[in-house]
Point group: C2
Chain length 388, copies 2
Amino acid sequence: MKNKLLTFLGIMFMLSANVTGQEAPWRFSRVESPQIHADRSVTFNLFAPAASEILLNGGWMGWGENVALVKNDTGLWSVTAGPLEPEIYTYAFYVDGVKVLDPANTSVVRDGRRFESMLLIPGERSALYMVRDVPHGTLSKVWYESPTLEMNRRMYVYTPPGYAESGDRYPVLYLLHGGGGDEDAWTTLGRTCQIMDNLIAEKRCRPMIVVMTNGNPGDAAAPGEEPVLEEARQRGGIFEMGTRRFEESLVKDVIPFVEKHYRTLAGSENRAVSGLSMGGMQTMNLGFDHPEMFSYYGVMSMGITGKDRSGRNWFQDVEARMQHLKEYGYQLYWVGCGTDDFLHDAAVNLVEEMKRHDMEVVYLETGGGHTWSNWRIYLSELAPLLFR
Amino acid sequence: MKNKLLTFLGIMFMLSANVTGQEAPWRFSRVESPQIHADRSVTFNLFAPAASEILLNGGWMGWGENVALVKNDTGLWSVTAGPLEPEIYTYAFYVDGVKVLDPANTSVVRDGRRFESMLLIPGERSALYMVRDVPHGTLSKVWYESPTLEMNRRMYVYTPPGYAESGDRYPVLYLLHGGGGDEDAWTTLGRTCQIMDNLIAEKRCRPMIVVMTNGNPGDAAAPGEEPVLEEARQRGGIFEMGTRRFEESLVKDVIPFVEKHYRTLAGSENRAVSGLSMGGMQTMNLGFDHPEMFSYYGVMSMGITGKDRSGRNWFQDVEARMQHLKEYGYQLYWVGCGTDDFLHDAAVNLVEEMKRHDMEVVYLETGGGHTWSNWRIYLSELAPLLFR
């Protein structure tokens, strides 16, 4: 009874002012959205009496597709989608042509410069992506000097549950994002902490450190997190993805920093590198150019591309470079790609070239395309194979 | 030349697919917004040819106020505000009555369940809030066992620049959020990492560890970050703010964890606690009930309130409790409040009560109200006074 009284008073007393911060109009959302039903269909609701048209676009739809919400006589717009497979989806409303996040949903993710509302449909596949009541690792935003790139740069470091207490040393997975992304991407859309926590709790995966760098060599950190320096801004973004400067900085700057500041296991047999799209290209480059550094490779949604429209072959030295990797050897070379991925042929090409060189390769082909849905699956499948 | 070619190919090759992720419609924003002009006026732009009305609400306006954007013949809506004082502001558009984040602005902050676009006007005051090219501390999301609250809970720990290399021990500031907030709040709206990095770089502040907990005793972590447990959900939020259970867990669970896992300096003279609003109440409670634990207190936008409408006096035992604090003593009791704050009288009351008890107190009165603008100023003013 005492607690209930205090509760009531607490709300009367402080909520209205503090939540609002006297800074912007705000009200309790009376709308529930998204509503996930027992059959995994989902109802989306948005209160907008003055709007003329509201569309929904969700990650389960095709590119550029949308579905219209219908307005009831109270001004509430609704639509039901699905049933949807257990997965994480992003979605947004378009109110009279303008993109709107779902105000009733506090899950919001950033993908590059784009924000979307997030929806998790519970089920077998997505169980790995949920925050569950298991021991959690620590995620740290760490700054390090990069003499190679002449910058102080930011990365994320995941240390597994028990790291602080155990005194043990751990192997390290270097996990690389794609073009347009940054060091946030694997921790948000990629659900790396949840996947690693859950795999480790289920003993399906060795406890390991996961290092998520910013793979854009001209950028110090994600948008808004980098120091305000005009020179950095002018260099930034993905505009240097073909230069191999990031790959060089990973070997010269990142790995020495990680191995100095964290309790890592020594030697190439305790280092893995994996990345998606641009990060898959960087993973391939690291294997070709620095095979002495790693024993495990995971190439996601990438491979050996043919000539592009300008006639340039991105992997023209592939014969000699692949031979270099073969001479050093490795424990695992893993490739994952979706059949609808625009780089599917390139991935198949990589796998076939490796086989032609009598190099062992594990290829996981999934449905779907160049999506975070696939990259979460690939991390979930790859991590259990590492450091065995 | 080679780099430029690679650059061009890289963009052609991967950007369109990876950024979009084949998951949602996306296009380069051709609109620049917000545009900060030399006189610190700001132009906001939103492309919305089909909208009927667009309003702007910004943190520099009064509660519930707004200003209309004007549409030009291309469908671009614009309005110019200010000049604005150097500060961090949040803002949002309202398109036909629906709240919209600025799609051209990648700075987005969450305040409780509310998302807003963020704008930083450079200048003397806001210089502390910017990411600058100075040594940066590390921010870690850490999970710890709370036997007191029967939960595995999350907090943020800031370790200052040089922590990893120095081997030194550091004093600790426990920094508490307000009602409706969570452990994210001080790191996002509060700009704690930037303020601490910049103060330490300018040698205005001792290097210290800053621990930012979740002050809602029924919650494990911020929304979407807590394990999906129905019991936790039912307890959660601010509905237990008056129970002093969080204060108990800070003393019994958080401080021992921090002092075990981080290189901290021993003793109450190396512990400070500060908080805003609800966190200010918790700071007062910690001083009254556990004066043996701390030597530095910072009460922001809080104080001794009178009786509320129900006749309840939240600080009815204040005489004995204040005496308890006085007997143990402290190095600094600091109070900050704005003249427009709805708790201004309460803060003045606290200061006067302390003086009546011959207890030393430092009071900083600012303009403004119950706002993050003030709380950032208070942290900037308080941190240099700690552990001296």
